[in-house]
């Protein structure tokens, strides 16, 4: 008898949920998927990493940039991050402190080592190139879901058979892009590819996320890409962003992300 009741309740729950999903508009479904991916990527507490970026021009000439960063998860209103530039040498020691916000513009400060000056900067212009690369500050900054409108386009698969959601993401505020099309792995809850469209609506560049590693923080498994290959289809330039080292679950102090940390 009790097995019959349990089976009935399970069946009823399934039907109700199925109807709820089926009733979702593409926009609602897109937002739900974005929330699922956010939840899956939360809980890293703190991150410390060193990165390298290889810039490749249209003639295949290469230049290397290096930097390191710290991120502190701040559940209430966006993360806090500190990036230190190491190469090229003339900008070595330049630091950028960002306090992300879910709905407002981020707070950002730049430390200019030659002048020993901490300068408040506007975070509104995110379309600028990051260190001369094909990445913009917008690509590498916080991706708070409140700052975008989402739309589910379709389900798909990679060539290797990995199940994907294909989402369209449109920035709510000023952006260098009219839209982004994201190919999100259902297993990793992270993108494997993002196509960026310029303000005229034409494809500008594509980023391929690869070399995913699994990190364990407490009982949680977190996927992080170790390589992002950005190709600008209009200029034929490329940039490859790789993580040389990365630690998750680090408990950073709050003082590591106040303005004192810039000096």
């Amino acid at each position: 008898m009790s097995i019959k009741i349990t089976s009935f309740v399970f069946l009823l729950t399934f039907i109700v949920n199925f109807q709820a999903i089926a009733k979702d508009s593409p926009e609602q479904k897109g937002l739900k998927i974005a929330k699922i991916t956010r939840k899956a990527n939360e809980g890293f507490k703190g991150e410390e990493s060193s990165m390298e970026m290889v810039l490749i021009d249209a003639y295949k000439a290469k230049t290397v940039r290096q930097m390191k960063s710290k991120v502190r998860e701040d559940g209430s209103d966006g993360d806090r991050s500190l990036m230190v530039f190491l190469n090229p040498k003339d900008v070595k020691g330049t630091k950028m402190l960002t306090h992300s916000h879910k709905n407002d513009d981020d707070d950002q400060w730049l430390f200019l080592p030659s002048l020993r000056r901490v300068k408040r900067i506007s975070s509104r212009n995110k379309s600028s190139s990051f260190m001369g690369s094909e990445f913009s500050y917008e690509d590498l900054g916080s991706q708070e879901i409140e700052k975008y409108n989402y739309k589910w386009l379709k389900d798909s698969k990679t060539k290797k058979g990995e199940a994907l959601w294909v989402l369209q993401r449109i920035p709510k505020k000023k952006s260098g892009y009219s839209k982004m099309v994201m190919y999100v792995s259902k297993k990793k809850n992270n993108p494997v590819k993002i196509d960026y469209y310029d303000r005229k609506g034409e494809l500008l560049k594509s980023a391929v996320f690869s070399k995913y590693k699994v990190y364990k923080v407490g009982k949680k498994k977190l996927y992080r890409a170790s390589k992002i290959h950005m190709k600008n289809v209009q200029t034929k330039k490329q940039s490859i962003f790789t993580w040389k080292s990365r630690k998750l679950g680090i408990k950073h102090k709050s003082r590591d992300f106040d303005k004192r940390s810039l000096k």
Partner: protein, 436 residues
């Protein structure tokens, strides 16, 4: 110089003990060339060729940190330009997680604006550098920092006055050869003792999209000396003040300063404001070099007048196609509470406006164009135009070239005032730097 040398040796020894992961270093060597427009004098050098070196080493292992940074310049044509300056040479440590104590030479930058800096007064300057952003020298400092709401409270103690650097007799920047600076602290103007207790505090806060700071200082002013002599007689020639020496000496006075800064982001616009109210110790009148040139008189001696200096600025950022950033600047400053004659004596920029822009191409070579024009809105035909072009030549090499045009025709044939002392000193420059 002995202190500098001892700190260099000490820092070197310290770096030997530091682990690789905790220790980092960087530096710069630059060949600097500047060519002034020709003048009629054979005493001054129209060309400067110098080597500039800056070294920095840093040790960071929570909760301790140590920074050593300094620079040096030698000029082939003008030996007086040779000097070594310590910028930072300090240790700091956190106490009880959030409280920080630092001791040693420190370089501060309290400014919010690009060209006028009334609140940024701690460090002594090298007056043979760009007027809008003079090079600084570190000051011996004991600092205590504590968190305070959404900011920091800092207390400072400065035991010593660091003497500014002045252009020498061959320099085109100055026409007056100055004696060693004198600190006026109390009524004793006869010693050059620079050890004098100075202190202050500063509170910084982040409020929504704004950064606000407020400070109080009781210290020896570093930026507004009276140049002249305290060696004069009022009895040799009745009704007149007679100098007893031909030497010109900069006198620096103790001052109580209240000041602050404000920066707020409104989308693409950043508003900036800074101010300083200064109350000087006024017990020692100085016979100024200017008064002597103008013939003296019973009112020839002067004291530093109390005043308020303020600067206001805006920066607007436009992102252009291709990732190019255009920053537009507009700033203005003023000295209030004194008349025009007094203002001119106090500062080169006493009631000026600055308009400018920076184009950052954000490309592989970091190409950048920077143009500013500063004009006096109180005095006729006084302006300074600064144009720079910068780009990397490789990951290690960088070139910076440009021109500085100064126009400030002399109005009183007997004496040069304010920017007039730099009239005819326009120059081209090129710096080739290697970073490591």
């Amino acid at each position: 110089m002995q202190i500098t040398f001892a700190l260099i040796i000490f820092s070197f020894c310290f770096s030997l003990y530091a682990q690789d992961s905790d220790y980092s270093g960087q530096g710069e060597v630059a060949l600097e060339f500047r060519q002034f427009e020709k003048d009629q004098s054979e005493l001054t050098e129209d060309t400067n060729i110098s080597i500039f070196t800056r070294l920095e080493q840093r040790y960071e292992s929570d909760p301790f940190s140590h920074v050593f940074r300094g620079y040096a310049r030698v000029d082939k044509k003008d030996q007086n330009r040779a000097f070594v300056a310590l910028e930072d040479a300090y240790f700091s440590t956190f106490l009880a997680t959030e409280y920080k104590v630092s001791a040693g030479y420190r370089l501060f930058n309290w400014t919010a604006t690009e060209a006028f800096h009334p609140a940024d007064v701690i460090n002594s300057r090298n007056f043979d550098s760009n007027l809008e952003n003079l090079e600084k020298k570190g000051e011996i400092t004991l600092e205590f920092e504590a968190p305070f709401f959404d900011g920091v409270f800092s207390f400072y103690y400065f035991p010593r006055f660091e003497e500014p650097e002045y252009p020498g007799e061959k320099s085109r920047i100055s026409s007056v050869v100055l004696q060693r600076s004198v600190v006026v602290d109390g009524v004793d103007t006869t010693t050059n003792d620079y050890w004098s207790p100075q202190y202050g505090f500063r509170v910084t806060q982040s409020l929504f999209d704004a950064d606000v700071s407020f400070h109080f200082l009781n210290h020896i002013d570093r930026n507004m000396p009276i140049v002249g002599t305290h060696k004069y007689s009022t009895v040799l020639v009745p009704g007149s003040v007679t100098p007893l020496t031909t030497e010109s000496t900069p006198y620096f006075f103790r001052v109580q300063q209240i000041g602050g800064t404000y920066q707020q982001v409104f989308g693409d616009l950043i508003l900036k404001f800074e101010f300083a109210n200064r109350s000087f110790e006024q017990e020692t009148p100085i016979l100024t070099t200017k008064s002597v040139v103008l013939g003296g008189g019973s009112g020839a001696t002067k004291i530093v007048e109390n005043h308020t200096e303020a600067a206001f600025g805006m920066e607007y950022i436009i992102s252009l196609e291709g990732g190019v950033d255009l920053n537009l600047f507009a700033e203005g400053n003023g000295i209030f509470g004194v008349d025009e004659v007094e203002r001119v004596d106090m500062s080169t920029f006493q009631r000026d406006v600055m308009l400018g822009f920076r184009v950052a191409f954000n490309d592989l070579m970091g190409k950048e164009i920077y143009l500013t024009a500063i004009g006096d809105i109180e005095r006729e035909t006084e302006y300074l135009i600064n144009f720079n072009y910068t780009q990397r030549l490789s990951d290690n090499w960088k070139i910076k070239t440009g021109v500085r045009i100064i126009e400030a025709p002399q109005k009183n044939p007997a004496i040069k005032e304010g920017l007039e002392s730099l009239d005819g000193d326009s120059y081209l420059f090129m710096n080739l730097s290697r970073f490591f």
